[in-house]
C-alpha cells in the first residue's frame, strides 16, 4: 500500500484507512513468522500434532496477524506514531484464508499538548467471520 503523510485535518471520526487483503495464507507464512519470533509451537505447522490436539490441520499464528494489523495501521498513520495497540482474537484463521485488514478513526483527542486519534480495526476472513479485532491510538504530529 502507499504511504501518505496525514495531517490533523485529514483525519475525522469515521475516516477509514485503505483496506488491504493478505492471502491466501500458507503454512510457509506461519513458519516464517514462527522463525522470526521464536514461537515454534508445532500446532501451527505440524499436521499430525494439530490433529492430535483436536484441530483438523495447523492454523495461523495469532500474533502474526496482530503484527500484520499493526503494520497496516502504521502504514496509514505512521510507524513511529503508535502509542497503544491492542488485539483480541476471535475465530481461528486457516491456510487458504484471504484476510481483509480495515479500520476507521473513532475519536480525535488533544491531551498534554499532543493530538491523538483512536482507531478501531478488524481482520475479516473471506467467510465474513472475524479473525481479530484491534484498537489503537496514534499521535498526530503537528
Amino acid at each position: 500500500m502507499t504511504m501518505t503523510t496525514l495531517t490533523w485535518s485529514d483525519l475525522e471520526v469515521g475516516t477509514e484507512g485503505p483496506s488491504w487483503e493478505d492471502g491466501p495464507l500458507t503454512v510457509t507464512d506461519f513458519v516464517r513468522y514462527q522463525g522470526a519470533s521464536g514461537d515454534m509451537n508445532p500446532i501451527h505447522h505440524d499436521t499430525e500434532f494439530a490433529q492430535k490436539a483436536g484441530f483438523p490441520k495447523p492454523f495461523a499464528v495469532g500474533m502474526r496477524q496482530a503484527g500484520v494489523l499493526a503494520s497496516w495501521a502504521a502504514d496509514w498513520l505512521g510507524a513511529a506514531n503508535v502509542r497503544r495497540f491492542k488485539v483480541q482474537w476471535r475465530e481461528q484463521a486457516w491456510p487458504g484464508d484471504v484476510l481483509t485488514y480495515s479500520g476507521a478513526i473513532t475519536a480525535k483527542r488533544e491531551e498534554g499538548g499532543q493530538r491523538f486519534v483512536d482507531v478501531e480495526m478488524v481482520v475479516t476472513r473471506q467467510t465474513g467471520g472475524t479473525h481479530l479485532k484491534g484498537w489503537a491510538t496514534f499521535v498526530v504530529p503537528a
Partner: protein, 147 residues
C-alpha cells in the same frame, strides 16, 4: 490455576532491539514499511515486535514459577502494547521485567469456568524509563479449545 501466583515477578532480563531481527520480523508480518528497515537507530521497531522477547528469555525471567499450566486449555485471548513515546529504535538496549498482574474468573458462554491471567511485562531503557508495556491476557478454559 493456582491463584497464589498473582503478583509474582520474574527476574529482570536484557532485551536488545536488534536491527536484523527487526527486519526479519517486519518481513514476517508482510510489511514493506520503510520505517522498519531504515539504517540502525533510524529504524522503528514494529508495535508487536517485543512479543518475541518471551521466547528468548531465561527460565528465571518467567513469573509463572513452578505453577502447573495445562497448555492444551490455554488460549492467548488479548494482547496490548502501550508506548509512552515512539516504539524503541533498532539498537535500543532494554531491561524487561514480567509479572502476573491479575487473575480472575468468568463463566463461559457454553458452561464451565474460564480463568483469565493478565501478564504484564515492562521494558525500560537505560535511563530506567518504561518505553513499552505489554499486557497479555491468557485464558484457561475448562476444556481443550480444539475439543
Amino acid at each position: 490455576m493456582d491463584k497464589s501466583i498473582e503478583g509474582n515477578r520474574g527476574t529482570p532480563f536484557r532485551v536488545v532491539v536488534e536491527e536484523g531481527k527487526v527486519r526479519e520480523f517486519a518481513r514476517a508480518v508482510s510489511s514493506s514499511n520503510p520505517a522498519y528497515v531504515a539504517d540502525g537507530p533510524q529504524a522503528t521497531s514494529p508495535a508487536t515486535f517485543l512479543a518475541s522477547s518471551v521466547f528468548w528469555q531465561g527460565p528465571d525471567a518467567s513469573p509463572w514459577g513452578d505453577a502447573p499450566l495445562n497448555w492444551e486449555r490455554i488460549l492467548h485471548g488479548e494482547q496490548e502494547f502501550v508506548f509512552p513515546g515512539a516504539p524503541p529504535a533498532a539498537g535500543t538496549e532494554l531491561t524487561a521485567e514480567a509479572r502476573i498482574d491479575r487473575i480472575y474468573e468468568k463463566e463461559g458462554k457454553r458452561g464451565g469456568t474460564m480463568t483469565f491471567v493478565e501478564l504484564v511485562t515492562e521494558y525500560r531503557d537505560g535511563s530506567g524509563s518504561v518505553v513499552v508495556e505489554s499486557r497479555s491476557t491468557i485464558i484457561e478454559t475448562s476444556q481443550a479449545p480444539g475439543s
